[in-house]
């Protein structure tokens, strides 16, 4: 698998990263090197092998349905570049 320049640009756009054509070309080569490296894994036959989801075999930890967090609006909005009365402010986005 390899990517072309338009795929690189599309992925960048979806990730909201602005890139120039030159940079897209560089990234294409870098990404293809990475993909090529990872592709070596294809040599391993994994037919009938369950995907490994965890190194150790244990059940997912669950929490009880108890409210024990939140009510920290000051902390939550502490790093916001713009805020008003505990609202985050962002450039206007309207559908």
């Amino acid at each position: 698998m390899s990517v072309d320049q338009s795929t690189v640009k599309r992925v960048a756009k979806l990730a909201r990263i602005a890139i120039t054509d030159n940079r897209a070309e560089e990234l294409r080569d870098e990404l293809n090197t990475i993909l090529g490296f990872v592709e070596q894994l294809d040599e391993v036959d994994v037919d009938g092998v369950e995907p490994m989801t965890s190194v150790v075999d244990f059940d997912m930890k669950k929490r009880a349905d108890t409210v024990n967090d939140g009510e920290i609006a000051d902390d939550v909005t502490a790093n916001a570049p713009a805020k008003d009365e505990h609202f985050f402010m962002v450039p206007k986005v309207v559908e």
């Binding site: 930890k61 669950k62 929490r63 009880a64 349905d65 409210v67 967090d69 009510e71 962002v90």
Partner: protein, 498 residues
């Protein structure tokens, strides 16, 4: 994903008229139902509605770096309960995936959802469409494709500032169940009946409050049109419809829009659309198109969600009686399908009725609950929870009728007094002298008086026995409605000799 199968036979009753031929609607619904829980799906912040902005937000919900999700077991149970209520396959092993997109109300940059392995698989619910003019309902089976758990996003407000949007993350991370139907729905009435039924099921189960005003339930509606019985057409998806009435309007507009395009020789482009309730139309959300590449992948922060059969069996054993079972039981008790369907539509109404009917005639209890109580509630825009007349009071009124203490007509007056002023029906009847006159002597005197005053009418009544009704009316008037109508009738028959 399984292949889409057309399970329905085209029914001309549902068709939209067209220029050259009729059109058939094909509708599939994705309903987002907020899980009833105290805390969020992956954090310990409250799910409470209407709180101060960003107060019910933990650092997990705000997606601060390094925060890890831990699943709320109750949300899992609620999803399983709902799956059981939808007669669906419960998957003992499911998994969470990340759905990636950028929006200011989604701080993680992805929504944790279940694309590949949902917690609930295929199921079926039976909806009741109608009633038609004869009070009959049509039962239609609608397939459920899946139900999965996912996080809700936050909320953006655009009217607070000229150039900025305001973001509140209180809803961010609240558990939602997305319930996806198969494309088995063929009319607006069926779509409405489907959402109504779904809402009723989750409310009976207590897994979602079904409150569409507060956004606890909203639907994405997939609509396409086709020549009846032909292959499925291209669909458009109407996002975030938040009332059953708007859904009807949105489908109607969208179907006509698509038919107009096809009849003008055009073709439908698959797209996401938004319903504008003010204008009553749908419009394209072009900005969503690009974002449709969600690049799903398994969430590495979460292990698969696994439970054993015993976990499911325990939940199953504790399920309440669901609307279909309740309706069947009410009908077995002698109620009509119409009455039973209305009573079970809302669990609170069914509970009220059962209290009224307890130890009393079911049919009579149903009539009073539906015609008088629900009628009055509708008129005043009140819900059953705010009913000024309790089940015990309504039961008391029915007891007075049964005991021949008051007539059905006087009972309506008593109902109105209880509605407006409250109080014990028996005491009201006693204090205000509303008990009907069963003393034959008093009734007889009134009957004699009327007969004596109207010899011509008596003649007529002998010819036409129907005329007796006029006399009954006169006697009731003379006794201010308090005479026992049965006694009046008998006396008149004897005296006039009808």
């Amino acid at each position: 994903m399984t292949a889409i199968v057309d399970t329905r036979t085209p029914n001309p009753k549902n068709f939209f008229p067209g220029q050259d031929h009729d059109w058939e609607l094909v509708i599939g619904l994705e309903v987002h139902a907020q899980v009833t829980s105290e805390a969020k799906l992956f954090s310990g912040a409250s799910t409470g509605f209407g709180a101060e902005q960003n107060s019910h937000v933990s650092l997990v919900d705000a997606a601060m770096p390094g925060m890890l999700p831990v699943i709320n077991e109750e949300c899992v149970k609620q999803a399983v309960r709902t799956g059981l209520g939808l007669n669906a396959m419960i998957n003992n092993r499911s998994a969470f995936d990340r759905k990636n997109y950028f929006y200011p109300d989604l701080p993680q940059g992805y929504q944790i959802s279940q694309l590949y392995h949902p917690i609930v698989g295929e199921g079926t619910i039976t909806i009741q469409v109608g009633p038609d003019k004869d009070g009959k309902f049509e039962s239609v089976d609608v397939g459920i494709e899946r139900l999965h758990l996912e996080q809700d996003a936050g909320k953006s407000m655009h009217d607070q500032h000229p150039t900025m949007s305001y973001v509140d993350l209180n809803r961010s991370g609240v558990a939602l169940m997305e319930i996806v139907s198969k494309p088995d729905i063929r009319s607006i009435d069926e779509a409405k009946a489907y959402v109504t039924k779904l809402r009723s099921i989750v409310r009976y189960l207590g897994t979602c409050d079904g409150n569409m005003d507060q956004g606890s339930m909203r639907a994405d509606v997939n609509v396409s049109v086709r020549k009846p019985g032909s292959d499925f057409g291209t669909r458009c998806e109407i996002k975030n419809v938040n009332s059953i009435r708007f859904m009807g309007q949105a489908i109607d507009y969208e179907a006509r829009r698509q038919i107009d395009i096809m009849e003008a020789g055009g073709s439908i482009e698959q797209e996401t659309r938004l319903f504008d309730p003010v204008k009553g139309e749908t419009r394209s959300m072009r900005s969503k198109e690009e974002a449709h590449d969600y690049r799903y992948f398994p969430d590495p922060d979460l292990l698969p969600l696994e439970f054993d059969d015993a976990f499911v069996e325990e939940l199953k054993a504790d399920l309440p009686e669901l609307p279909d079972e309740k309706r069947a039981r009410f009908m077995a008790d002698g109620l009509s399908e119409y009455d039973a369907s209305i009573l079970v539509s809302d669990k609170a109404i069914a509970d009220y009725f059962e209290q009224v009917a307890s130890g009393r005639d079911a049919k009579m209890a149903a009539n009073w609950t539906i015609n008088d109580l629900l009628g009055a509630l509708n008129k005043d825009g009140k819900s059953i929870e705010d009913s000024p007349v309790t089940a015990a009071q309504l039961g008391g009124i029915i007891d007075l009728i049964k005991a021949d203490t008051i007539s059905g007509k006087i009972a309506k007056d008593v109902f109105e007094i209880v509605w407006n002023e409250g109080g014990d029906p028996a005491k009201i009847v006693e204090d205000r002298g509303m008990a009907q006159v069963t003393d034959t002597g008093a009734i007889e005197a009134a009957v004699d008086e009327i007969i004596a005053a109207n010899p011509d009418k008596v003649e007529q009544a002998r010819e036409k026995p129907n005329m007796i009704g006029w006399f009954v009316g006169q006697v009731m008037k003379a006794t201010r409605g308090k005479a026992n109508p049965k006694a009046v009738n008998e006396l008149l028959r004897v005296k006039i000799g009808g």
